[in-house]
Amino acid sequence: MNVEQLLFALFALLTCAGAISVVICQNVVRMAFSLIVCLASVSALFFLLSADFVGATQLMVYVGGTVVLLIFGVMLTSSSTLLQIRTSPAEGFLAAGIGVLFLAVFSFTAWSVDWDANSDRIARVTAVDVPPQGYNEASSGNTVRPLAMAFVGLRPDKGGNAAGYLLPFEIISVHLLVVLIGAAYLARTKRRVSADTQNK
């Protein structure tokens, strides 16, 4: 067992433990903490898969942004501290059973596909000249420049003749702006209305 496998096993275990304890915990802030552990371990897995920019974005946007937002939500909506809303045990058992079945289906599917043959077929169909083991050699994880190129519509990593992502990138920028304004508006006006009604 080499270092890479050891680290992978460690973070895989942390990811699964975090995800499962998000489901099991009843206290919302405990859930948020488990979510932090889970998402941070996923970002470590991204680094192990030599996707360093995605891993960094995961840390910055997900763990440092989205989860903070969620905890804020918890604090603004909990009427008492250390809030708990319980689900009934019967529902829990039912959900666990369905979950195990789901997991079995997924694992069975993943293990019964011959990925190498599929990979060859994709390479044949797209007729793009790429190295057979994907973009990343194990020794390089520096994906910032190629990713930035892909976002402005250039694909030097695929010999320049593949599709770039300029239009989706622009759309998502506008989308973010719309969401920013919309979320601020949604969260703000309603509260002012309720404050007014209380004053009356």
């Binding site: 080499n2 992978f8 895989a12 995800a19 998000v22 489901v23 919302v28 948020a32 979510l35 998402l39 996923v42 897995l45 991204f46 192990l48 898969l49 996707a51 974005t57 946007v61 997900y62 989205t66 937002l69 969620l70 804020f72 939500g73 918890v74 909506t77 809030l83 809303i85 369905i98 979950g99 789901f102 997924f106 694992s107 993943a110 990925w115 599929n118 990979s119 060859d120 994709i122 790429v130 057979p132 083991q133 994907g134 973009y135 990343n136 994906t143 990713l147 892909a150 593949a162 992502y165 989706p168 998502i172 969401v179 919309g182 979320a183 601020a184 949604l186 969260a187 309603k190 509260r191």
Partner: protein, 103 residues
């Protein structure tokens, strides 16, 4: 050359997805449901990145996963605004109470 085979990464993605789905269905706390959504999206992300590493798809998988992360952040912001409105109207975050349209 593979130190870890693709199937193990996919299995972790599946665990994340399943945990997220269970979380969405069983939690009655609105914010808990949001956390389930985040877990599902992360499971999908892990699969995208794994495919970009292990198959000939190249960087496309990473690009898609970046889009997913950004959209998830946007979704969390809007969903949180909705949750705050829900709390203002019902004085609780328990989604089972939002049953005014129940006939």
């Amino acid at each position: 050359m593979d130190a870890v085979s693709l199937n193990y990464v996919l299995a972790i993605g599946a665990v994340l997805f399943v945990c997220g789905v269970i979380c969405m269905t069983t939690k009655r706390n609105g914010i808990g449901i949001l956390m389930g959504v985040e877990l599902v999206l992360n499971g999908a992300n892990l699969n995208f990145v794994a495919f970009s590493r292990y198959t000939s798809l190249g960087l496309d998988g990473q690009v898609v996963s970046l889009f997913v992360i950004v959209l998830a952040a946007a979704e969390a912001a809007v969903a949180l605004a909705i949750a705050l409105n829900f709390y203002n109207n019902h004085l609780t975050i328990d989604v089972d109470r939002g049953d005014e349209l129940h006939g």
